[in-house]
Amino acid sequence: MFSLFKFKGGIKPPTYKADSVRFPIAAAPVPAQLIVPLHQSIGGQPHPLVQAGDRVRKGQRIGAPDKWISSAVHAPTSGTVIAIEERLAAHPSGLPTLSVVIEADGRDEWIKRQPVDYGRLEPEQVRELLRDAGVVGLGGAVFPSHAKLTAASDVPMEELVINGAECEPFMSCDDLLMRERGEDIVRGIGIFRDLLQPKRVLIGIEDNKPEAIAAMQAAVKAVGENFEVIAVPTLYPAGGAKQLIRVLTGKEIPASKRSPDLGVQCFNVATAYTAWRAIAFGEPVISRIVTLTGNVAQPRNWEVLLGTPLRDLVPLMQPKADTNRYVMGGPMMGFDMPGLDAPIVKATNCIIASSPAIFPPPAPEMPCIRCGACAEACPHELQPLELYWFARAHNFGKTQEYNLFDCIECGCCSYVCPSRIPLVQYFRFAKSEIWAREREKENADAARERFELRNEREEREKAEKAERLAKAAAARVAAPTQQPADTGQPATEQPAFDPDAAKKAAIAAAMERARKQREQVKPKNTDELTVAQRKEIAEIEARRVPLQEPQNASNAEIQRAQREEE
Amino acid sequence: MITRNEFRQIAANGLWKQNTSLVQILGLCPLLAVTTNLVNGAMLSLATIIVMAASSVAVASLRNLIPHEIRIPVFILVVASLVTVIDLLFNANLHQLYLVLGIFIPLIVTNCIVLARVEAFANKNPPLQSLFDGVFMGVGMLWTLSLLGGLRELIGKGTLFSGIDMVIPGLQPLQLLPADYPGFLIAMLPPGAFIVLGCLIAWKNWVDARIAAHRSRKTLPPAPQTVSAAQ
């Protein structure tokens, strides 16, 4: 029997999962218009590869990864790119992000898919393939998977943990995926296994999903692998990567370390599934399973194209009348969708239609009575009460001393708080303030350094110039003194070397330079032109203004080049 | 010499704005120890006034002669000498008062108020100004310590002016609260001094805030509503 470990803390919220697992996964219809944000994963923002007006096919790459930690983005269906612009993002900020807007043509034409036999490729090529297929962690963290598929050079990879725990209430997308597509998941895990070469592969599933456990055991057997499917106790947040690793291997990964350094790596089941589809079928990540649940007539899991606006999913959900908002993600770590136009992205595992009955409005925040319930619930064994105290007082240095950055924002502390303090909110606030301050500090340091360098340079230039001028003056003084010998004129007429002369010469030279500079500047000015000419120029400028695209520097450059040619 | 405005400023600072006990919170040690009743507080303040006035004038007269680096030892020396003189003086001529105040007169040497005023004011200002500063700082201390002592005495024992007969023979303390008042002893103990002093400081700040609000209402148009809503 496999012996499990325990992590401290954790909570047992009601699961609300039963309703959405009664029906199999269904494909959501292709919407008329898709909004595909380019930045859907951690890391660099992908560069757009298409322009407005381009025709794209399903699966065509529309965003190229920027540097190694980044992931490609693809067209979810065939159609026409109508714009590449800032659109509302599925993000708690409610701010827009650069997105490719595609009008679907309804034909859903695939690009030519190229399945590969990854066994014959170098590991590096497989990683690149995954990056270009847009495979990222679909558990919600959306970290590019290829970047996690390298073992540490000095630590042997012992365990590969596959996360099928799905501990957040309401969510059942991974559950259904494991039930229905277990074999693809297992084959996907096989890819990860081959790249990382771990000694063991452990698939952790919370014990409230017996069907998924059975399906995965059957799938492992059918594929003929030796992966261990392990039921883990249902305890939120057992599905957090660090908690699941702890439960299955006993290893604890602090914020200061990466999991390969401890010989373990963790992937979500859905990630493994998309990896297999990408390698064996040539299908990039263009859709994902989303649980549409909550205050709806028909809770169910749907396979939704990425970029589908939330508005198009509302008819599928049939929300009840008192629905007041939609939450993306689970009730513990999710956030309010900023609007119905925000699209489904790779991180969207669940949409919960919310009503005051399901998620009551927050109770008033009472003073902390230091009861310690949060510290007992914290799976990372932090002292949220102390962190709260310092975050509330804007004492960010102290929050870091109390390991603020080990907080995974799981929400256990807020869940148990009798004073109803939005602790996680305070911690997020403190984290983003610290990041912002670090950015500002870096900028200020850079500015100081540049300012000092510039001052030094100016000092040096001034000194050099003075020296040059002094030399020149000295030479001028010296030159005439030679003449008297030739001409026989008395030497006394010539003035001796005068320090003032050098200074005067320097000033004269500077004035001369300034005059020249002014002349250089002038020609472009319109002073000498007639009134009619000026008017004409003004008209031309006026016409030109709307053409200018301030954001698009390349445009301006093209225009400039054209003008210069003229 | 001294202008009217200057004088007013010095007086205001000493009596209220920079009050030694309520704002600068200096000299807590004698403050806590002697303000168990009104008379003690007032008498110690009187002695301090004399020391402060004298030392301020002395230091202000010498201020241009004292090197910056060694000013503190010189100040201490001046203050200590003056205190010793006053100690001897009291013993010789005001023996009754001397007995009441006991150890606290020599302890004025270490009272930070004296040194603080010498360092902060007399060291930078002419003797006349320094004299007024010393006196008004002392008077500020006098009324606060008297108030503090009076309150503690009243709460703790229900009397006022106890011990007055030691200073002026023939006078009797007042029994303000009923004779069977059990006495709230904590007020007479050091914690009570802290609590009552805290209340006095809070009262002073409250009065200041009221004055400031009143003034801004007078001079400014009604404040926009958004200011308070932002918090």
Binding site: H39, A89, H91, P92, S93, L95, P96, T97, P362, A363, P364, E365, P422, Q425, Y426, R428, F429, K431, S432, E433, W435, A436, R439, E440, N443, A444, D445, A446, A447, R448, R450, F451, L453, R454, N455, Q517, Q520, V521, K524, N525, E541, R544, Q548, P550, A553, A556, Q559, R560 | E69, I70, P73
Partner: protein, 180 residues
């Protein structure tokens, strides 16, 4: 009488010697406070404080010559931090507080005069004579020093708007009053 004078005199000689030695031995050169103040200042080098850069202003504050409320880019928060560091009273800012800005050169209008390049205290503008100039936005401190020198008024300041990457979680505020 004689004893008192002798003891005081002897004490004065010994202690005086000790003090003289200490004042020479432990003399502090420079002011370590300047570095601390400089670290708080925003390093825009804008000169709005009346000093040619942040360091000179920091020196002036440390000397007690300048007030702490003369740095508009640092804002009220900067004033508060300085007050904290120096134990002074917080004062309202001497000028209007502005949001963070970045300089933008209208490249259509720029004539390549290099005047702004010379004005920029942090070398954030690139361009050579008669070439169009541009501002390296990530280096720009928003000091506005380049705006005035431009002969064709092609530089304007733009407010830096929050984007998804610089967005910050807000301080949680719950209106207790409303609920009660």
């Amino acid at each position: 009488m004689i004893t008192a004078i002798l003891i005081m005199a002897l004490g004065a000689v010994i202690l005086g010697a000790a003090l003289g030695y200490a004042s020479v031995k432990f003399k502090v050169q420079g002011n370590p406070l300047v570095e601390k103040i400089d670290a708080i200042l925003p390093q825009t080098q804008c000169g709005q404080c009346g000093y040619p850069g942040c360091k000179p202003y920091a020196e002036a504050i440390a000397e007690g010559e300048a007030d702490i409320n003369r740095c508009p880019p640092g804002g009220m928060e900067g004033v508060r931090k300085l007050a904290d560091l120096l134990g002074r009273e917080v004062k309202p800012l001497d000028a209007e507080e502005k949001p963070k800005q970045v300089a933008i050169i209208d490249e259509q209008l720029c004539i390549g005069c290099t005047l702004c390049v010379q004005a920029c205290p942090v070398d954030a503008i690139v361009g050579a004579a008669k070439q169009m100039h541009t501002v390296v936005a990530s280096l720009c401190t928003g000091c506005e020093l380049c705006v005035k020198p431009c002969p064709v008024e092609c530089i304007h300041m733009e407010r830096i708007v929050e984007n998804i990457d610089t967005w910050k979680w807000k301080y949680p505020v719950f209106e207790i009053k409303r609920v009660a």
